[in-house]
């Protein structure tokens, strides 16, 4: 079963730059895919189109049965409830504690208090931060903040987790911790993970599917791929 179908997608920005040319791929449910490529290769654009921050100029993107390109601004929340998103800069709310940050994702969709509590504690346990519930983001290390962001992304039990350079701000050791967490989520929850990165070591060590973009063109999509010279 394919969770994501991308059919002949072009993306041209209003300033005239074309970021993606005729991209045509399907991503299976439960898979772990690295999207790699140099700067300006279109990795971020692809991720943004998947959570509909950007709309494709041409073609169709289907995520879990939703036609993303056709989704109206008002209905975007329907897609966002099915996916979790993790960014390089964590995007936590500084005035909220770890617990509140994660609970926030459930509060705004109207979950019950008891439900919020169980789910938040479970998610924080999965990322290994159950002992820092009442800390504020600025009291945590970068790696820990990113783990809070991951907990927030998975707390609603999404089918798909999109990560845009989640290790971009972290040193190799912390990066591997994050990767361990993501791998666990992929295995235990069966969550499909798509992660844009340019970190060679991570890609080569984990041996997952690799989708290589080069100047907006798909240059390679293989299982158990590596980051080779072609990818730059």
């Amino acid at each position: 079963m394919d969770l994501i179908k991308i059919k002949h997608v072009d993306k041209k920005y209003k300033n005239g730059v074309t970021a993606i040319y005729d991209l045509d791929v399907s991503i299976e449910k439960g898979s772990f895919v690295f999207v790699i490529g140099g700067s300006g290769s279109g990795k971020s654009t692809l991720i943004k189109m998947l959570y509909r921050e950007e709309k494709p100029t041409k073609g169709q993107i289907i995520v879990g049965g939703l036609d993303v390109a056709k989704l109206r601004n008002k209905k975007v929340y329907k897609l966002r409830r099915k996916i979790g998103i993790v960014f390089q800069d964590y995007r936590l709310l500084p005035k909220m504690t770890v617990y509140e940050n994660v609970a926030f994702a459930l509060e705004v969709i109207g979950a019950k208090k008891e439900e919020i509590r169980t789910k938040v504690l479970k998610a924080l346990e999965e990322v290994g931060l159950k002992n820092k519930l009442h800390n504020y983001p600025d009291q945590l290390s970068g790696g820990e903040q990113q783990r809070v962001a991951i907990a927030r992304a998975i707390v609603n039990g999404p089918k798909l987790l999109l990560c845009d350079e989640p290790t971009g701000n972290l040193d190799p050791e912390k990066s591997m911790e994050i990767m361990k967490v993501l791998e666990d989520i992929n295995k235990s929850r069966g969550t499909t993970i798509i992660m844009a990165t340019h970190d060679k070591d991570i890609v080569n060590k984990l041996k997952k599917s690799v989708l290589v973009l080069k100047d907006g063109h798909l240059s390679k999509f293989e299982k158990k791929g590596t980051y080779d010279h072609e990818s730059n």
Binding site: E53, N73, Y77, L79, R80, A105, V108, I109, G110
Partner: protein, 299 residues
């Protein structure tokens, strides 16, 4: 259940935000306060002017004097003719004797003078008092009445009253214009002040969008916040306008210059005004914040 829960959270967040961004809230509130004071004054002025016009219109009558040689049947004919004129609403016949009694009651001088006259040498005449349906056409109607047989003189305010009424009408229009303009200006001011509070929460809104909050959920706390600001902003204007009007009314003893221009009684008028002021304040706050938040919902 879920809707109530979400509403509860929205209200909580709205109050939090008002308190957390207190200086900005205060800016919005004082902005609303000043406008609402002027709006309240304008509302009370226009209502009163409206009232003056209505009262004067109610009092305005055409008096038609009947020739002294008119007989019973002539009077009956005149009455018929009057009834046939389109703009005529009510007709009342007042005889010399009745008129005399009325005038005697009005002043002591008249009382003495009139007492000396017998009915047949009285300078007074039998009259018809005529009320019209539309005051604007009163001149026209008076002309028609003049043409009726056995009617000698026709009098009505003769210009003065019409001028007064048209002056009131323009005052009323000006005050309405002022109210509308002020409300629009305040909405813009509020949009801008609330935009500041919202831009401080841009990050929060974008995260809400990312984790799947619907636009409605995101907007509600801000709209409630706008309502709260409007509500707080209308407190001073309400106190000002109710006490102000009460004092104004007492100072002038209920009328301006002449008994003709009566002020509206403070009760329940000042409560109605207060209600209008609160409602305007809340709507202005809501509209302002709703449109301020809108542009952050496109991410």
């Amino acid at each position: 259940m879920k809707a109530i829960r979400m509403l509860g959270r929205s209200i909580r967040d709205a109050f939090k935000s008002v308190i957390r961004n207190f200086s900005l809230s205060l800016a919005s509130i004082s902005c609303i306060t000043i406008t609402l004071i002027i709006v309240a004054i304008a509302i009370m002025a226009s209502f009163n002017v409206n009232n003056f016009t209505e009262e004067i219109e109610k009092d305005l009558t055409i008096v038609a004097f009947i020739d002294n040689d008119a007989k019973e049947e002539d009077i009956e004919n005149i009455k018929q003719d009057l009834e046939n004129i389109e703009n005529v609403d009510k007709i009342k016949m007042i005889s010399k004797q009745e008129l005399k009694e009325q005038m005697k009651k009005e002043s002591e001088v008249f009382n003495k003078v009139l007492d000396g006259w017998e009915d047949n040498e009285s300078p007074l005449k039998d009259t018809f008092q005529i009320k019209v349906k539309e005051v604007e056409k009163i001149g026209n109607t008076a002309d028609k009445i003049k043409k009726i047989d056995k009617i000698s003189v026709v009098r009505y305010g003769e210009g003065m009253v019409e001028k007064l009424i048209s002056a009131f009408a323009s005052i009323k229009n000006v005050t309405y214009g002022v109210v509308v303009a002020l409300v629009i200006v305040t909405i813009f001011l509020i949009i801008n002040t609330i935009k500041l509070t919202i831009s401080a929460r841009k990050r929060e809104i974008s995260i809400m969008r990312l984790v799947g909050a619907s636009n409605f959920t995101i907007k509600t706390p801000f709209i409630i916040e706008g309502m709260i600001l409007g509500l707080l902003g209308s407190i001073i204007p309400i106190i000002f306008s109710t006490y102000g009007y009460l004092m104004f009314y007492r100072h002038f003893d209920g009328y301006i210059m002449t008994q003709l221009i009566q002020l509206i009684k403070p009760e329940p008028f000042m409560y109605t005004t207060a209600l209008i002021v609160v409602v305007i304040g809340m709507i202005v706050g809501m509209v302002g914040s709703a449109s301020a938040v809108r542009r952050y919902l496109k991410i």
